[in-house]
Symmetry: C2
Subunit: 554 residues, 2 copies
């Protein structure tokens, strides 16, 4: 083949990565990007942050232009051009210039589909009101920015990653924001307790949360819009952001007869090839492999999209010598003001729904040496396979160092590490950066203690009044931040001398703020013949994410 | 055995961890800590930060007291007690109370040696001057704090981790600091270019660096001390900090006939057992296994010490069911004002000295999305085995996110990951936290490009005038931050149109600020028939750590 003809449909994350890598591999190829929108290769993950003003200049997001891509990569970029048909038999793409209305067609040797995914717009009464926005591109962003210049009341529907970013940014900008979410928590991929800090932080910043509630219909007049919720509540708004999820833009692929998955995603192999070996696909519109358990999954994230695009280009030029795309773990992180939470791998609820056996512990510690000023607490939950001890997932929440722990644990998951391996990870330690025993090491220790039968854990406080709950915190702390059940308060340093205060004939649950002292106490009691469990993760991980481990100046 | 008698010699990191874990495993054991100093379980890594005032209260470092350890762990702590002899035949430890002078002895079933390491004090003329300090414990710290209350001029000798922390903290406190180091760089475990940012930062903050120089002798009079360097320089000082390294406190072990390594460290097995199966050892005084290559090594760090103590306690009570200590990677990090640098695994110089084959690349990128405000550059170097591609080591420098990259790469090293695996690590990405392609992914890409023969790298600019150096930066940047060799400036976007400006008959090295555009250019030139190499890591990683990738407002 003298000169390869490559056509890329959709020029944002996956498509732009594909084109850039293809050019690196072949100076002579003709590479054409056909993009429906007016922009290519823009920073779509940054859109909410410009709306809130954190990214002050719009230009920062318009990473490349057709002209800059011509200079850098010798690409032929056709923006505002809509592909109308993929003619697989003749290997041609037909598209229409949206500015002129003219149609044309181009031949391809290899075709890359990176159409992305569209925000869902459910068919509810009133949904067509022009004050109901979704956010996908710079034009959507511009419309929302314009709406925030007059509107002061926003309703965000859907508390996933984008919904939470929009909520934070709109509130930051001075709007009054109400957030509606069908689940009983924000960020539904997280297990509920790991979302509690985000919820607390949103409320502290004045956001109204409507959890476990959904929109039934919209009504409105000239002055404002009303969101009627399933609960009967009516929220008044000047603008509404719909962020309830996305659907793959796979219509072209479907019309071309390419194989789609059960939810409409394009099916690809490990080199991102569709069911037509001359057509590749990557990004939010494709199915991928779950890297933890090997099942099919969908991960609509910028990182995977970029790397899939690269893999596809490698395969075009290197064939099966290319390195396959290994699948995705599903690592996600979100910030709401000073609170951060994230996940990598599988959650407890997802494992439960799939009936996959797991064990879990939750631990709390500071993000760096506690004695060094500025230490902030982290709550870390890990999940593993009971047989092998292999790590299946992790979630973390706090304000500092969350991304670091997720990244280490994502790496540990794809390496097939067990919870035992976490005990001996050697993480960078100097007082401003970490601890001699990092919270990840502690999670490994806690998991091994459980596997070794050193401790029984409960993750709920007992309802049964026959169970004695022993609160081993100091008395002032136990009084200032009481547990939500009846307890016997025996501060840990006095426990060995006060065993007679606990009824040996009845089961015991030990409780503290962070789950560490309660473990110590469980060991003391177990070795003294008590039937005892420790409340894993303590009050902080399960009841109140703001519970301190000690009182100020104590 | 009814009641186990455990004696711990040295109650700081490893010893305190051993005792705490032992108590968790056995409520009935008699556990005695014998500690020469007046304190147990203090935060030794925090000492420099109290001297500089960053940790304002001394109490923050005195983590535990004999009384608190009695309450928490039912330990019998004997401070200011010096062990004089280990009687292995009768399994007894003899020690002397330094306050009363009285001697006594205690029987042990199992003994833990965690004596730590002492700062080196070389036998130089004048070394006994009382104004020459070393830093090991709270009393040393108090003496230095007192000295800084009158003295204004400090000389720090030895620019390792502790030396650099002391330099930063003394300068921070307002002293004028001169730093002397025998090597031509600070932090000798780093490859020299990776220390350049630290050196630049120290100089910007007014520290005088004397690299490649050492102390010959000290002289002094009442008013001040003089450090006479090998170079002939004489530095005047009110106080001198000696931080040239440590030696293991293994005298007791030696006298007891335990097996020592070539540099006097206690030899232990994977459960931290010495050559006497009833005696364990852990911490700075022991040899350990290098986790990368399996050789013997010494890692005097708080993290390994703590985890070794725990392993030893597990073995006492669980026997060979305990999990072995897998060895250490050697992860270290240090901060100097706003600059941070660190290492995990093997450096280039160490691989060279051991004649171990390796390849390496250095890449630069920002610590989070470049378009999100506050992005700070990171320089990341990775090293791998040419045959397998297995990661052998990594170094990073910058100001933000250095600890995160080291932690991920330390995890990747112990998992036996290859550079190919780095391409597809799925790290947490939202604009405030990372990039769609993290600098770790980029390092993986660069390494694979090299392994695939897509690019040749050079890490030094050519001396040979026959080699053409093509600077592909924009002209204003190339003029503002010129390369230190003669170059042809052809901005990358104009390269394809200007190939005739380069002599095809002579070799070419492409150059830019960060090493990215020079790689792009090398691909263009290689495919156009030029013999070309890219200057890996660019000017930033090799020549000037402050070189920007673009000019402000460009």
């Amino acid at each position: 083949m003298d000169q390869m003809n490559l056509i890329v449909i959709g020029g944002v994350a996956a498509g732009a990565s594909f084109a850039a890598r293809a050019r690196r591999l072949d100076e002579s190829a003709r590479i054409t990007i056909v993009e429906r929108g007016p922009d290519v290769s823009f920073a779509n993950c940054g859109l909410p942050y410009h709306i809130g003003g954190e990214i002050p200049t719009r230009d920062a997001l318009a990473v490349q232009t057709p002209e800059s891509l011509k200079g850098l990569l010798n690409l032929d970029v056709r923006t505002e051009s809509e592909v109308t048909r993929i003619d697989r038999a003749n290997k041609r793409v037909e598209f229409r210039d949206l500015k002129t209305g003219q149609s044309q067609s181009l031949a391809y040797d290899k075709l890359m589909l990176s159409p992305g995914a569209s925000p869902l717009r459910p068919n509810l009464p009133g949904i067509d009101d022009s004050r109901i926005y979704t956010l996908r591109n710079l034009q959507d962003m511009d419309r929302i920015v314009a709406a925030t210049e007059t509107g002061m009341r926003a309703v965000v529907i859907g508390a996933g990653f984008i919904g939470l970013e929009m909520t934070e940014q709109l509130q930051r900008k001075g709007l009054s924001v109400q957030l509606v979410e069908l689940q009983q928590q924000v960020i539904p991929p997280l297990d509920a307790p790991m979302a509690a800090l985000l919820e607390s932080e949103l409320r502290q910043h004045g956001v109204s949360l409507h959890l476990g509630d959904g929109v039934e219909r919209f009504t409105g007049d000239e002055s404002h819009l009303r969101c009627h919720l399933n609960s009967g509540k009516v929220l008044e708004a000047d603008l509404v952001i719909l962020s309830i999820g996305v659907k793959p833009d796979s219509e072209l692929a479907k019309n071309a007869g390419l194989l789609l998955g059960p939810r409409g995603h394009i099916v690809v192999d490990e080199f991102q090839r569709t069911s037509d070996p001359d057509i590749y696909a990557a990004g939010d519109a494709v199915e991928t492999l779950d890297r933890v358990l090997g099942s099919k999954t969908v991960v609509a994230m910028g990182g995977p999209a970029n790397r899939q695009g690269r893999v596809a280009a490698d395969h075009v030029f290197m064939g099966d010598r290319a390195r396959p795309y290994p699948g995705s773990v599903g690592t996600g992180i979100v910030r709401a003001f000073d609170a951060v939470a994230g996940i990598t791998g599988w959650s407890e609820k997802r494992l439960q729904a799939a009936a996959i056996a797991y064990e879990t512990v939750t631990v709390n510690d500071n993000h760096h040496a506690s004695y060094y000023p500025g230490a902030k607490p982290i709550t870390l939950k890990i999940l593993w396979s009971p047989e092998s001890g292999r790590l299946l997932g992790a979630q973390a929440t706090g304000s500092e160092g969350i991304d670091k722990r997720l990244d280490v644990l994502s790496t540990a998951i794809v390496a097939g590490m067990s919870v035992e391996d976490l005990c001996h990870l050697e993480l960078a330690y100097a007082p401003p950066f970490g601890s001699a025993k990092d919270v990840i090491n502690l999670a490994g220790f806690a998991a091994c203690n459980r596997r070794d039968g050193l401790v029984n854990h409960v993750s709920k406080l007992p309802d049964d009044p026959a169970v004695q709950v022993v609160d081993v915190r100091g008395k002032p702390l136990a009084e200032a931040f009481p547990a939500p059940v009846k307890t016997i308060n025996i501060p840990f340093p006095t426990l060995r001398a006060n065993l007679d205060k606990i009824d040996r004939s009845r089961p015991v649950v030990t409780l503290c703020a962070f789950g560490k002292m309660s473990y110590f106490a469980a060991r003391v009691l177990a070795q003294n013949g008590f039937s005892v469990s420790s409340f894993s993760g303590g009050l902080k991980a399960n009841i109140d994410p703001r519970t301190p481990a000690k009182l100020p100046n104590s």
